[in-house]
């Protein structure tokens, strides 16, 4: 089945309020599950407060060359939202003001933003980690994008890419026909210029997320497995594997609903609630900026359109770290995805 964005289909789930309603009360099981805030309370973490802003995450837009089945962004070639130059300028100011240690660029396919290179050049400086979240296939799409790995290298970017599995069947099932072969080609290109190779300092990380309604495997053991198999099959090397749990929103929520897995998946997340993972959720040290400048506690809350609670600093033009550090993080039932098992964040397991 060809996947298209919920937005282009005019699907009921394109409304985030409908997504939250479903998660909270669609079935008797969902309506009677413990609430996330209640569980945080039992762990002494309610209300959930930030520990600071270590990671400045920017979603450059929802435009993407792919339309993966599980995409929580509902990204695709038909999405036109891209961060404006004005908001990019505001971001630069904020990054300099807090002297952000890590800037995390995501999307969509962040490389497709026309100002991507300009922006990276503006913010890059020694000691600052800039992460680009690449879907890999974009890097072999045409000559323009084939030149990007060299640009990444020149700017010393950390490249973190999605690869749901070290085989074609699982990868293509989740991300579309041909994805695996193109991802391998892109990884080999990155390896060739030094990414993932020992001693180069050019970090290449992979992101695993389950292709279905189940939780990710143990991160260290899966990393060993990925390393052995990618090396054996293609001679590919990389630094770290991050395991990420799929959060029950957007197109992944659609999949859970259509496949009749939603009740059981939510039960599974709730049963796997881990207080240590709750203490380490990424919203505590991250701020997420949307294409339109609105600030969110994380990329998931961005997709659910629930902005930060601090009314005085809710847009990047009004960015104020002190105000933001005082805020209460806005939570809901989808948050159980971050606290299940070993925990899940953009940097993988949290425990």
């Amino acid at each position: 089945m060809k996947v298209t964005s919920l937005a282009s289909r005019g699907h009921a789930l394109k409304d985030p309020r409908e997504q939250l309603r479903i998660l909270n009360e669609e079935t008797p099981v969902l309506a009677t599950l413990p609430r996330f805030g209640q569980m945080l309370g039992q762990s002494g973490l309610y209300p959930l407060k930030p520990t600071g802003i270590d990671i400045f995450q920017m979603n450059l837009g929802y435009l993407c060359n792919m339309t993966c089945k599980h995409c929580h962004v509902d990204a695709g070639p038909d999405r036109k939202e891209l961060m404006t130059r004005e908001n990019l300028e505001h971001c630069i100011r904020a990054i300099e003001e807090i002297d952000a240690h890590t800037v995390d660029l995501t999307g969509g396919a962040p490389e497709m933003h026309p100002d991507f290179q300009w922006f990276v050049e503006r913010i890059s400086k020694p000691g600052r980690t800039i992460i680009v979240r690449s879907n890999l296939t974009i890097l072999v799409t045409n000559p323009k994008y084939r030149a990007f790995p060299e640009f990444f290298k020149k700017q010393g970017l950390q490249v973190t890419c999605s690869l749901p599995f070290y085989n074609k069947f699982t990868t293509d099932k989740q991300r579309g026909e041909g994805t695996y072969d193109r991802s391998v080609e892109a990884l080999l290109d990155l390896n060739r210029i030094g990414y993932g190779q020992p001693g180069t300092g050019l970090e290449l990380n992979l992101v695993y997320n389950p292709a279905g309604a189940f939780l990710p495997a143990d991160q260290a053991s899966l990393e060993a497995d990925f390393k052995a198999n990618l090396q054996r099959k293609h001679g590919i090397v990389f630094n770290n594997l991050f395991t990420i749990t799929n959060l029950p929103i957007s197109r992944y929520l659609e999949f859970l609903l259509m496949s009749g897995n939603l009740d059981e998946y939510m039960q599974k997340l709730v049963n796997a609630y881990n207080p240590a993972a709750a203490a380490g959720v990424m919203c505590r040290n991250t701020i997420s900026v949307a294409w339109n400048g609105i600030l969110y506690d994380c990329d998931f809350n961005q997709m659910l359109e629930i902005p930060v609670a601090s009314a005085g600093s809710r847009h990047i033009r009004d960015f104020d770290a002190d105000t933001l550090n005082q805020r209460e993080i806005v939570i809901n039932q989808h948050c159980f995805g971050c606290t299940a098992g070993a925990g899940s964040s953009c940097g993988g397991a949290t425990t």
Partner: protein, 111 residues
């Protein structure tokens, strides 16, 4: 007669077997837990073995449980199907190798 054979919901009640006899149940579950811990074999390898055995004993509960466990331990569909083929090969081979016994007997009885 009630429709009680193989209700998927019964899998979740596995622990209830302790209601009728707690001591042996406890021993079994402790043992079971230790068996599946990561050891010389990884948790993933053990899940795949369990999946293959589940197909040999044809237990629908175990098939459900170890399909999910295999995925959650990071196995993929192809690996899982290969494991089922291993079960199938041993199972089929076990029948076939007895053909030698049949041949022995037939040869003895024949002229």
């Amino acid at each position: 007669m009630e429709k009680t054979y193989y209700d998927p919901k019964d899998l979740k009640k596995f622990g209830d077997i302790a209601d009728f006899e707690p001591e042996l149940a406890q021993k079994f579950f402790d043992y079971y837990g230790s068996v599946f811990e990561e050891g010389e074999l990884s948790a993933r390898e053990k899940a795949l073995i369990a999946l293959a055995v589940a197909h040999t004993v044809q237990c629908p509960y175990c098939i459900d449980a170890y399909t999910e466990a295999s995925l959650e331990k990071g196995a993929n569909e192809a690996q899982m199907m290969e494991a089922v083929h291993v079960a199938c090969a041993i199972r089929g081979g076990a029948s076939l190798v007895h053909g030698v016994q049949m041949m022995n007997k037939a040869k003895k009885l024949g002229m």
